[in-house]
Structures are given as structure tokens and as C-alpha cells.
Symmetry: C2
Subunit: 196 residues, 2 copies
């Protein structure tokens, strides 16, 4: 998606440790106009797939999932990372490693909100090593629901998580795939798969 690539080039910042900071428009301050376009684009890609539920993980995926939900007219389920007093004990649970947070966390959804018969599109802001998506896919599997695919805003292609999932047959749609990045240059993968 050209609009997102251009925004990354303009406002993204490369931090040490292969971290791309996009907090100014995607996952801390959220640009309403950009997210509208991202939501539309995700819907255009999966509109024919009978999606009944969007699923993401707190916190940064929620905004993108909500902007997509308007077009699917489907509910958004977000996996949680900490048990609170208002959570039932009857949950699907898995472990996820986070590279930006550092460390492992247990993520879960309540069983009553994810069921066999659901056709689930997983949405997230970032795809790097693929840990969060693998965790969400595992929750879908536990529920006996059907995975339609995964849509992410930014894939760090050079960290391999996206291509590993694709090799396993998961439909992964990324609006911008970064093949390499340094302080000076961010190179996107073009739609035919080559670096551009």
C-alpha cells in the first residue's frame, strides 16, 4: 500500500536492534485518515472470504482491527495479556514472546467469544518473527474455528516470520513489507516479491 510505505519513509524512524518506530501514526498516536485507508485496504483483500470475526492482540492491533471492522461489519475480539477481575476462568491460552517488550507473556481469549464456526481474520500492526500471529493462530485452532488469514500493516520481511507462515500455508497479507532497513534507507518488497 503506497500510502503506508510513503508514510513510513517520511515519519518512520529506525532504532537500534532492528526496531522501526512508527509511533507517530500507527501505534501510539494513531492517524485517523491513514487508518481509514488501511481498514479499507484490508477489507478489499479479504472481502470475499466470509469473515465473521476479526481477532487481534492488545494493544496496538486493536485500532487497525476496529478500522477494518466497519467494512466487514464483524466484531473484533482482542486477546488479552493480563487477567483482570472481569475475566471468566474459561479461556483458551497460549504463550507469546515479544521482542519489543522483551520477555514472554501468556495471552488468552474467553472461550465463549471464539467458537467453531467462526471464520477468523487475524489483524496486527507488526509482523516480525511472527510470535504474536502464531499465538493467535493457536487460539483459533484451540477453539476449532477456521482461520481465513492474517493481515498486518507492517511486515519486517528480513526477520522471516511472514515467510515462515506463508510456507506453512497461512494467507498472510502485509500492507508494507520491509526487506531491509538501516538508519539511511528503508527498502520495501515490491508486489511481485522483489526488493524495490
Amino acid at each position: 500500500m503506497k500510502l503506508l510505505e510513503e508514510r513510513i519513509l517520511r515519519d518512520g524512524k529506525v532504532y537500534p536492534g532492528e526496531v522501526l518506530k512508527v509511533g507517530g501514526f500507527l501505534n501510539h498516536l494513531i492517524d485517523d485518515g491513514l487508518l481509514e485507508e488501511i481498514g479499507k485496504d484490508i477489507h478489499a483483500h479479504f472481502s470475499g472470504d466470509g469473515v465473521t470475526k476479526l481477532m487481534t492482540i492488545e494493544a496496538s492491533g486493536i485500532a487497525i482491527a476496529c478500522y477494518a471492522a466497519r467494512h466487514f461489519h464483524a466484531p473484533v475480539l482482542f486477546a488479552k495479556k493480563s487477567k483482570t477481575a472481569n475475566i471468566s476462568s474459561d479461556c483458551y491460552t497460549t504463550e507469546v514472546v515479544s521482542y519489543t517488550h522483551g520477555g514472554k507473556s501468556t495471552v488468552f481469549v474467553e472461550k465463549e467469544y471464539l467458537r467453531a464456526g467462526d471464520r477468523v481474520l487475524i489483524i496486527d500492526d507488526f509482523l516480525a518473527h511472527g510470535e504474536a500471529l502464531r499465538g493467535l493462530i493457536e487460539l483459533v485452532r484451540q477453539a476449532g474455528a477456521e482461520l481465513v488469514g492474517c493481515a498486518v500493516a507492517v511486515e519486517k520481511g528480513f526477520q522471516g516470520g511472514g515467510d515462515e507462515l506463508r510456507a506453512k500455508g497461512v494467507r498472510v497479507y502485509s500492507l508494507a513489507i520491509i526487506d531491509s532497513m538501516t538508519d539511511d534507507e528503508i527498502v520495501f518488497r515490491s508486489e511481485d516479491g522483489s526488493a524495490s
Copy 2:
């Protein structure tokens, strides 16, 4: 807002410890149609106030803020609870006690995303003792930005946080105010301030 009150009566569950569970439509599984109406209602209430930024706190406030943002055409800033590798060290910071999580957490926003000149509407899913709103108001104050008011979906009126803020002159708009709740009955405050 009648639609939200009716939904709480239909699908809300009262848990021990004065906890109201609305995970089936508001803050775990998010009902797209209901949130559309909530977003519109919040906008209708504050549309004449020159709001330039919506602000919330991860995770449950994000969805509501995004559904409102479409109408304000304003960005959403969400305060974070944990420092990650992609966060700058230059932040406004405060402490917030959470009753549902149990315990205190440090919340913060990066300084570059909240500035003097911003006219900020704070949005959250719940208002109980008012800890989260007070924390967000403190961040707005630190930035020298202007607070327009606070909009929340569900206020637990009997816990007093909303009325304390109103007594201090903060405009607090709640779409549903619960004056009392037991396993058998949830009583809402009517728009003239009486219990209904």
C-alpha cells in the same frame, strides 16, 4: 444512551466485588454496530468544542476512541503501560491504580505526541473510582494542553469517581451511569440525575 443501557441489561453480568462484565460487546469482544453508535454519540456531545486530539489508555479505551475519531477527524493518542524498545525516553509519566487489574502501574505518553495547543477529549470504556481519567488528565496538564472533557461508555456512579471529577469542574459525559447494581438488578441514573 438507551442502546447501551439496554445492551448492559441484556448481556452485562455482575461479578463479585462490584465488577460489571461487558466483555461480550465492549471490552473483549467488540460489537462493531454498537461501537459505531457510541462513537457517533460521543461526537454529537463534543462536536462544537474544537477537539484536536482524542486520548485514551491501553487497552480497552482504544476501540471506543477509534470509533469516535472517525467523526472528529482527529488522531487518537493512547497512553501506554509498559516501556518497549520502540519508545523514546522523553515522556510525560504518571501513576494509575487499577481496581480490575489490582495494583498500580506507570502510564506514559511520548512528549512529542501531546503538546500545548492540543484540545484533548479523553475517552475510556469505564469510569469507576476515576483513577485512569485522573492519570490521563495529569498527562494533559503536564503537556500544557487543554482538556475539553472526558467521555466514557459506562460510569459506575455509585463508586463516585465521576461526580468527584465533575465537582472539580471537569466535563464528564457518560453514555450510561449505573447508580446501583446487584445480581438481580442494574439501576441507571436518568438524564435529569435521578435513578431510573
